[in-house]
Structures are given as C-alpha cells and as structure tokens.
C-alpha cells in the first residue's frame, strides 16, 4: 500500500482495527447515554439508544461489550505501553510537543508517553466502570448490594466515566492533530517517514522485520531471503 508514492508499513492489523472501532462505537454510545443519566441538560442524548428507558436497558450491556473488547486490546498492547527510555524526557519537553517542535524531541517507541497515559488511564477507568456499573445494574444486580454501597458505586462510576471521557477527548484530538494517525487506525498502514518521525525506536525495531522493510504486502515473499538489519541512521533528527 502506498500513500503519495511513499513507502508504507503496517502499524495496526485488521483485528486491532476492528477491535478499536467496535470499542469506539461502544464508547460513544455509552458516553451519550451515560451523560443523559448524569446531568439533566444532557438528557436529550438518551434518545440515541431509542429513548430513555432503552438507554437504561442497553447501556450496561454495551458496557460489558466495551469491557471485553478493551481487555483484548489492552493485553495485546501491554508490552508497547510500558515505561521505556526517553519517555520521561519526552514528557519534560511537553512544551515542544504542544508547539509542534518535534525535531527537539528524544526518540520514543511505538507509543509516545501521552498515548501511554491514555492507555493507563483507561486501564484504571474501564474495570472500575464495570465493577461499579454491575453494582448499579437494575433490575439484575443492584438488589444484591446494600444501598450505601450502591451510592458509592454511583459516585465512583460518574468519576471514572468523567476521567474516561476526558481521556478519550484528548485521544480523539491527538488523532486529529497528528496527521497520519487516523489513517493508521482506518487503513492500518503508516508511511516510513511518519513512523521514523513520530516513533523512531519502533521504526528501527520494525525495520528488522523483512516484511515491514519492504513496505508492501507483496514484498514479503521477496523478503524471505533478506535478513538485514535496519541501516537508516536518520538524516534528520526526530
């Protein structure tokens, strides 16, 4: 696959992409119906799921779907979201990040520390939302829990949802801000230039894989014979 005749490489496989967008859909439905219960000015949003009663009925089931999808993606992406070299330095240079002075930033891996914070914020929020959500879930489960616990669960559910929604707003904005990211999640591929610019350490690792280096799907056959490491030493910084 080529964009503007640039060489591309795989960033997200079909499974990850499908999982991501199913989660995105679930998250949007949950946010809209959840905000409707949270604050009266948002009550009109309860029509998204076919009216307020349907919202009450469907919201928890969609929540379970989101949780299952999230567990799958979280497990598969865990190793890329651990703290690694340059992450702290990158965070210290948040000013450079926000002002688009990318050439001053230290090289980082598959995910930048901002993306890792999104990951860990959701690791915190989504299980909390599941547990508190089950405690509040009528008519199936709430009856088994004491009312004071349901009160705490309701408050914590709102707080966790707030953190989760704020995190996703940042996530969505970052995708719009960093051109090429949305295409990475819709089509799966990024250009070599994009990878080297935004995620140099990941790019170097990937270049050790023959299929990625060739830059298109048909190339994998040709590459079976190739076993060279990456030789791109980066003529521009970043």
């Amino acid at each position: 696959m080529n964009f503007k005749k640039q060489k591309t490489m795989l960033r997200y496989g079909p499974g990850t992409r499908a999982n991501h967008w199913a989660m995105a859909g679930a998250f949007i439905l949950l946010t809209l119906s959840g905000l409707a219960f949270f604050h009266p000015p948002f009550f009109f949003l309860s029509n998204t799921l076919g009216g307020p009663v349907w919202s009450r009925v469907l919201h928890p089931f969609i929540g379970v779907v989101l949780f299952v999808l999230f567990v799958i993606i979280a497990v598969r992406q865990l190793k890329y979201n651990l703290l690694m070299k340059n992450d702290v330095q990158w965070m210290r240079q948040m000013g450079d990040v926000l002002n688009n002075r990318d050439d001053k930033l230290p090289p980082i891996g598959k995910y930048n520390p901002g993306q890792k914070m999104v990951y860990w914020a959701l690791i915190l929020c989504i299980p909390v939302l599941l547990i508190t959500g089950v405690i509040m879930w009528r008519p199936w489960f709430a009856g088994f829990f004491p009312i004071p616990l349901i009160r705490v669960a309701s408050l914590v559910h709102a707080l966790a949802a707030f953190i989760g929604i704020a995190t996703i707003i940042v996530h969505v904005y970052a995708a719009i801000w960093v051109k090429g990211s949305i295409k990475a999640m819709t089509r799966g591929h990024v250009t070599h230039a994009w990878a080297k610019h935004h995620h140099p350490l990941w790019y170097e690792d990937e270049m050790k894989k023959p299929s990625q280096r060739a830059g298109d799907e048909n190339a994998s056959e040709r590459d079976t014979t190739s076993h060279h490491g990456a030789r791109h030493d980066g003529r521009t910084s970043g």
Partner: protein
C-alpha cells in the same frame, strides 16, 4: 398525574417547574405510634384505594406481612418487640418490661426528597406545593436512582414493569379534598391528616400527654435533616427512633448522593467542555503535525527507497 400547575420541584429539571398555584396549604399525615394496634386496616385500605394486588405471601412466624415494602405494597406495619425499663414504675424498680412497637412504614414525603434529587428522568418525580412527593411512573425509566437517593429505603422497582413505586399520600384523594385512604380506615385515629401546622399542634398535645404518663422521651419525628417530612410520627421513645424497625435518628440525603448529584455535575461537565474547546483552539493556534515527507525524513532524491533496494540486491 393529577395536577401539573402547583409543582414546586421536578426531578432532573434545572429550570423552575410550573408554580401558578403555590398558595396551597402544606399537608401532613400524623401517625401516632403509641395509638397503633397493628390491625393493618391501613394496609388494606391502601391496596383497595390504589387498586394494588400484591402476591399473597407466606407466614414467616411474625406479624409482619408482607415482610417488606414492595412495588405493590406501599405501606406495611413493622412489628418490633423490645425489652425496656418499665415506664411509670417507681424509680427503684429495675424490672424490664416488654414493649410492642408497631410502626406504619411508607414514604415520608420529605420536604427535601432524596429520591427527587437523585432521579435522572425529567418529571418522573415531582413535589407538589402541598408537600406531597409523587412518582409519575409514565416518565420513570427504572434506573433505581430514587432507591439510592432515599434516606428511608422506601421506593421499590416493580419486577413486572421495571417502574418505581411508593406511597402517593393518596395525592388523587387529597387533591379533591379527601384524606388518604389509610387515614380513613384507621380505627383508633392513630393516623390523622390535615395541614402540617394543625398536625404539629395535635402532635404536640399528644407528646405532652405521653410525657405526663411517664414517657419522658416522647417526641415528634419530623426530621430536620430532610427539611421536615409530610408524614410525621409521634414516638414514645423519640430518643431512640431506631427501636421502631430502624427508623433513622438523623436522616439526611447521603453526602455521597449529594456529591454525585450536586457539584460534580456542573464541574465535570464544564471540564469536559473546556477540554474539547482546548483541543479545538490548540488546532487553530498551533496547527496539526503534518505528515512528514520522505524528503524530510530520508533526504533529497528519495534514496530511502534506494537503500532498501541496494540491500536486497546485495543479498
């Protein structure tokens, strides 16, 4: 809903409710626990007037029947046997005396209703100017937040239709100048109904009477923590309301519910809005991170590709 013109509070509504007929006298039901004989006529009258037919239960070996409030039993008698110091005896007498405390349980019609505070469905819970807190089940979504909000554990969700139900204080009867059905049926005048002012005066008399008869701690249960209630009790042991099947001593809307339904709503909504706007204006002022070109990343002449090709040839 009987009347939509004298609503003073409406669930999940941030603007004023219709207020045209506010000059209504606040009503109250007074339950003099010391006069109750536990006959359950009030339970029967409630079922009859409201056309409720709860399932016929089983005998659990106690007088309580049914054992708890349900979506179709809006009032139940609570029977408690308590051993206490003999009342009226000489001060030397340390004999314990069995007391049978019977309390008619049901919605208290709080001036500051926790159910209404917690309800997310606009208009599913309303408070009339006369103080009655009523559920408009047509707007109820069955979320159970009213149960979470209530300091008295009163509302019940129906297993049949997933709507929440509780005592209406017979708002339909009161609206046309009748007393609630339970009041009408009570054979001992233990339950009385009138303006809140009159009921407080009557309760005061009754408390004085009880005090004269040795119940020194008698008092009116009209808890200030929920702004007072429109169902009040005369209790002979007002210092220990918990004796009457766990009647809370100082009921108030839980601070957890207050936090959930109070400040968090506008603050968290505002922060979410600001976050989205911050993103928008960041894009407008700083612009996006454009896709880097091969020339930028790998130098002029696109020799990035050539490098790869060379490598392949060499192998």
């Amino acid at each position: 809903m009987i009347n939509s013109q004298n609503i003073v509070a409406r669930s999940a509504t941030t603007l004023p409710a219709p207020h045209a007929r506010d000059n209504v006298v606040e009503v109250a039901k007074l339950i003099d626990v010391s006069k109750c004989i536990g006959c359950k006529a009030c339970q029967v009258a409630c079922m009859e007037w409201n056309d409720l037919r709860d399932d016929v239960g089983e005998c659990h070996g106690v007088y309580d029947n049914p054992m708890d409030l349900t979506a179709e039993s809006w009032t139940v008698m609570r029977f408690n046997e308590v051993e206490m110091e003999a009342v009226g005896g000489s001060s030397e007498s340390k004999d314990k005396q069995l007391s049978w405390l019977i309390r008619k349980d049901g919605c208290m019609h709080c001036a500051e209703p926790g159910c209404l505070e917690a309800c997310p469905a606009p208009g599913a819970i309303v408070q009339y100017a006369n103080g009655i807190v009523d559920f408009d089940s047509n707007n109820c979504i069955g979320c159970g937040y009213c149960i979470t909000g209530c300091p008295f554990n009163i509302p019940r969700i129906s297993e049949k239709d997933s709507k929440s139900y509780k005592c209406t204080l017979c708002s339909d009867r009161v609206n046309v100048g009748l007393e609630p059905a339970c009041v009408k049926a009570c054979p001992t005048n233990c339950i009385e109904f009138g303006s809140k002012k009159d009921m407080l005066a009557r309760a005061d008399k009754r408390v004085n009477d009880l005090k004269e008869r040795g119940f020194e701690k008698a008092g009116i249960y009209d808890p200030a923590g929920v702004g007072g209630t429109h169902v009040m009790y005369v209790l002979h042991h007002h210092d220990e309301p918990g004796l009457y099947h766990g009647l809370p001593k100082d009921p108030r809307i839980s601070p957890v519910v207050g936090a959930w339904k109070g400040v968090t709503k506008p603050i968290m909504s505002a922060i979410l809005g600001i976050t989205a706007f911050a993103g928008f204006f960041h894009y407008i002022t700083k612009g996006p991170k454009e896709e880097p070109t091969d020339e930028e990343m790998f130098g002029e002449g696109d020799d990035h590709h050539h490098v790869s090709r060379e490598e392949e040839h060499r192998s």
